[in-house]
Structures are given as structure tokens and as C-alpha cells.
Symmetry: C2
């Protein structure tokens, strides 16, 4: 007997490959998956200490109502405009299942978060990849090129490039596009502005946020989306019933309330980001203006892969994306100041 046949789209795809998660972290400087180098708010510790482990025998709140209320108040919307999920990857899965299939295409910029393309494959949906201009800006005719797609997925700030499309351009896009616009704001806490207010004005907009970056909780798995209530009600149908564990809900709620800690760590990361970009520029690297917790940088030799491999020999892991444009760069996550020092030592050695 043989293995049963899976759907052709599944069989034909290679699957999204996340950044390497090495086991022995102690000797390795990990700057490859845009984790926050700082620990989460100490409220996480308290939440775990106060958690009654005995009640784990019960199912969690299916919708995370306490979180919905807290998050809604923060954004000035109603709780029925919030959907909570097991990381923003779960949000992306839910949204793609609601909008795309063989007859309903996804459109996204290129380059961007490569998971969007994998999601299209999983849904066996066409994926319209629209090249960004020099400087990784949206072309003027982006909406024109996306025409016919059911949904546009884009990251703002963009990954892996780090730049922020102008607000006016985003408004125009949401106004002009005759379908859903999913704005992935995974890095928005590190940027000078964001599009969260759009959901009040544009019924076709879905904003997503994650606790994996600015809130230092990649290990916890929590993300949410904001949209009009009717749209949230549709998304709710496509989520697993109990998609967020009780522990995740408890820790996420406690950490979300600690706005001071968020502001402090975000500022520290932004300061390090500026120092990282400046240092790289002084060493002859070309850097893309970053509004995130990483810097997309081209070494002077324009050979991203060579630089990536060199850093690997120094136990420094950054992210390299093969491709005609992206292959010239590496994406470097902002680490602790001492990790940045080690990186600059390696840069000096690379250039010598």
C-alpha cells in the first residue's frame, strides 16, 4: 500500500521555511527572526505566578473576551471589531481561508513577507506578486496591477526591507482597491505612524498586530486583527474554536496593560537600530531606512550571501533571502548592545 494522495497544491509546494531556531543558543548571536532582544514585561512573570494551573482542565475562552475588550479600548473601537489569534500567523491563516481560493487571487508586493505566497499555495489560489520600485516603494499603479484580486496583503512597515509606505499612499490604496486590504502591522510599534485608524473609515481594511516583536513574546503566540464587526464575524468562522491557550491569554492580557514597559523597550530598540544603521553606513553598507526592529543592509561587495555565510562562521546568524534584488542584502535584527558590538567586530573583519 502507498501513502494516500494529498491535494496537488500541497504536494507541489515546499512549505514556508521559518528562520533557523538553533538549539544551543548560548554561543550563538541570533539576529535572524526579528525577535526582541529584551525579555517581556515583568507582568508576564506575575501572570504566570498568579495563574491557577489546576483550571487548565477547562477549555479557554474561545474568543479571548477580556483581551478583546482591553485591546478595543486601546484602539478606540468596539470589542466586536477585534479577533484574537495564536500569533498573527494564525490571523493570516484565517484571513486567507476567508478570501482566497483558485478563483479568488491574492495580491502582494515583491519582496515582502514570504509567508503570503505560501498561504496562496495552501489555498491553491493565484498570487499576483507586484514588484516594488527602487527604494522598495509601492508603484503608482499597484492597485491597477492588483485588479481582480480578492485581497491585497502587505506589511507596513514592510519586511524584509523595513521601510514604511507613505500614509497618503496607503489611504489612496484602501480607497481605490475594490477588495479587502490586509495591512500586517507586525512592526508598527517601532514606526512613526500606523494605519490602525483606517478600520474606522474603510470597511475593506483589516489591520493585524502581533505580540512577537515589540512585546517580546514570540514564544507565547498571540496576535490580533482589527476590522469592521461584520468582517470580524466572518473571520471568526474560520478560526479553530479554542485557538488561544489559557496561559497565552493570561500572559498576553497582563503584558498588554504594561504600556510603560513597551515604550521603554521600543525606545531602546529604536536607539540601537539607529546606531546599527549608522555604523553599517560608515562601514560602506547601503541600508534601507528602517521603521522596524531590523535593518536591511547591502554589504559593499553587494553579495548578501557571502556576508551571511561569513557571519555564520562567527556564530552570528542573520537572515538571507535569495533573489535578484534581495540576494544583495541581509536582514539584521536589532540585538542587545553587546551583540551589536560583536556584529561590528565581524563587519570589520569581513571588510579587511
Amino acid at each position: 500500500m502507498k501513502i494516500p494522495e494529498v491535494r496537488k497544491n500541497i504536494n507541489g509546494m515546499s512549505g514556508y521555511v521559518p528562520g533557523e531556531q538553533p538549539k544551543g543558543l548560548s554561543r550563538i548571536i541570533k539576529l535572524n527572526t526579528n525577535e526582541n532582544p529584551y525579555p517581556p514585561s515583568p507582568e508576564a512573570k506575575k501572570a504566570l505566578e498568579n495563574f491557577d494551573w489546576q483550571r487548565l482542565n477547562r477549555y479557554p475562552d474561545p474568543v479571548g473576551q477580556a483581551l478583546r475588550e482591553e485591546i478595543a479600548a486601546y484602539h478606540g473601537v468596539s470589542p466586536d471589531m477585534i479577533i484574537c489569534a495564536n500569533g498573527s500567523d494564525d490571523i493570516l491563516t484565517i484571513v486567507s481561508r476567508c478570501f482566497i481560493d483558485p478563483d479568488h487571487a491574492l495580491a502582494c508586493p515583491d519582496p515582502t513577507y514570504s509567508l503570503y505566497v505560501s498561504l496562496a499555495s495552501l489555498q491553491d489560489a493565484p498570487c499576483i506578486r507586484i514588484p516594488l520600485l527602487d527604494g522598495f516603494e509601492l508603484p503608482d499603479d499597484f492597485e491597477e496591477q492588483a485588479k481582480g484580486a480578492s485581497i491585497i496583503m502587505l506589511a507596513r512597515p514592510n519586511a524584509p526591507t523595513g521601510n514604511l509606505y507613505p500614509m497618503e499612499r496607503m489611504e489612496r490604496l484602501c480607497e481605490n482597491f475594490d477588495g479587502a486590504v490586509f495591512i500586517d502591522e507586525a512592526y508598527a510599534d517601532f514606526s512613526e505612524n500606523n494605519c490602525a485608524e483606517f478600520v474606522k473609515k474603510y470597511p475593506n481594511v483589516i489591520i493585524s498586530r502581533t505580540f512577537s516583536k515589540s512585546r517580546s513574546l514570540a514564544g507565547l503566540r498571540f496576535g490580533y486583527a482589527i476590522a469592521q464587526p461584520e468582517l470580524i464575524a466572518q473571520l471568526m468562522k474560520a478560526k479553530d474554536s479554542y485557538n488561544i491557550s489559557m496561559l497565552t491569554q493570561a500572559v498576553a492580557l497582563a503584558v498588554f496593560r504594561d504600556h510603560d514597559y513597551l515604550a521603554k523597550t521600543v525606545q531602546a530598540v529604536k536607539d540601537s537600530r539607529e546606531a546599527l544603521a549608522k555604523g553599517l553606513q560608515e562601514a560602506g553598507f547601503k541600508t534601507v531606512p528602517s521603521e522596524t526592529n531590523f535593518v536591511f543592509a547591502m554589504p559593499p561587495d553587494g553579495d548578501g550571501e557571502r556576508f551571511f555565510r561569513f557571519l555564520r562562521t562567527k556564530n552570528i546568524i542573520v537572515r538571507y533571502f535569495p533573489g535578484a534584488v534581495t540576494g544583495k542584502y541581509v536582514r539584521i535584527t536589532v540585538g542587545l548592545p553587546e551583540e551589536m558590538d560583536a556584529l561590528f567586530d565581524a563587519v570589520k573583519e569581513y571588510l579587511a
Copy 2:
């Protein structure tokens, strides 16, 4: 402007409705979602106490390798025959995305876990529902009726009925069916036998297990599936990259190792189950022989809904499934001995 259109199958579906999760649990006897009335192993407490909250800033192991190894050893298979997930609902989502779509049907018994039908709707796939015989047994021509489907999904023991299809019948089904056979063993720890060994013999079989029932960890969200390595490799493509939180992985691993505690609580639940079934029978109820932690019972008046509503007035919540056959019954989760006493007081009052 209006809300953008979601796919027709999403718009047309009502979504799976999980059992009620009332907020104020204190005054309510909750016997409606087959949770274990006992707390999880105290190893859960230790795992939480020993967990280094500061490392939550990092992503979790994408595949839960430590769990795969421990679970594989327990089942006598290799770790590449295990996939870990955010509850067995996540396993079901992954499997349905790999196997079903408008051209690839799902087949399942009727009645069974109603989520299977919702999964078919989510994938816009045909769903062949095959009526069970009296006593909720599989008809002899089940495979014949399922012919053409890409996958059969069934629960063994079945939910909400609680009965266990004979082993020989299961073997015959796996041998005869020319597609995948998904055997949902959510309740297998409460039964006299299970089909886990099938994966060594039948390359078309996928077995799933959950920690939500026998291990008292519904709030944690952990489940896994066992199948041949080539099949697991396909399923891996359809899961979210980081589908299981670090906390869930830590607690699940610690609890899984406590085999004594599992044996002890499972025995307590089975003893209470037998007492529950016997008591109901003595009161004139018809009960389906249960190999789970619940009893599917028909009150003497054959009116499941009336009995369900009566219990609700006594602050006892059980599960009622409308339908020509299921509507005659209610599904009662095995609770603590004192909860069973309260139930029997209510039964007496109902019959008076």
C-alpha cells in the same frame, strides 16, 4: 463603501459552535464539553514554576522536537511519524487543508463530531455523511458509501455517542478504503483498546490524540497525530510555522511523562462513568455503552431537549444535539462524584 466579499462557502456557513463556556463557573455544574473534572498532573505546576519567562522573547521550537521524541518513544515509532499541534482541532484543520477541497470529498459517519462537517464547509468540499446503524455502529457498506472521498474522518470512540467500533471492523475499513483514514482518538485513553498500531501497518492511516480529555489540559491546547513519515512531511507544510507556544510545549512534555497520574485519573473517570451509566439505567434512561468520559443517554420520555432544558434550570449544563436521532439524547460528561450526586438529584426531580 461596503464590507469586502468573503468566499461563498464562508459567507454561507454558520461556523462550528463549541459547547458553552459560562463565565461564572462557581454555581454551575459544567458537564457539557467533556473536560476532565480532575486537575492536570502536578507536573504541570512544576513545569510552570521552572519555566524561564524571560525566554518568551524567542520563538518556540517550530515542530516541538522534544515532544515528538517523547511521544514517538511511547508509541514505538520514529519522531518523524509525529506532528504536534495547538490542540487536536489544529490537527484536524491541517489534515483537512491537505486532503479536501471542491474536488476532494470528506466522508464521515452521522452522527459524529460535528466539527468534521464544518471543516468540509471551510474547505468548500463535499461532505458525504454516512448514517450509523442502530446502536451507532458502522454499516457494513461504509467504505462503499465513502467511495470517491479523499479521506474518511471518524472518531473512535465516537462522539457524541461514546461507543467503540470493533477493531476488526476498523482494520477492514483501513484495508478496503482507497484514501486516507483519519481516526480521531480524542477519548482513546478511556477505552479498552485503540488503533495507534495501525500506523505501522497502514500507510493511509492518521491517528490523532489530544491532551484536552484524559490529561486534563483542555486549557493548554495540545494534540498530536501519528502517521507514516512521508504523510507527516506533507501535513507539516500546512501547519502554522510556530503553532505551539513555548509554555504549552513545556507543560505538555512534563505532563506526558507522568504516566501514573494519567492511569489514576483515567481509572477514577471510568469508575464514575460506570456508576453514571448504571444510575441512569436504573432511573429508566437508555444509555449507549461508553468507552469515553461521557455518557450519551436518552431520558424515559425520549425528549433530550426537554431534559437538557430542565437540567439548565438546576444550573447543570449538559450537551444537547438537535436532530431526529441525537435529539432524543443528551450527552453528559463524567464529573466529580459530588457533581454526579447533584445530577442524580435533578434526575429524580425530572422524573417525579
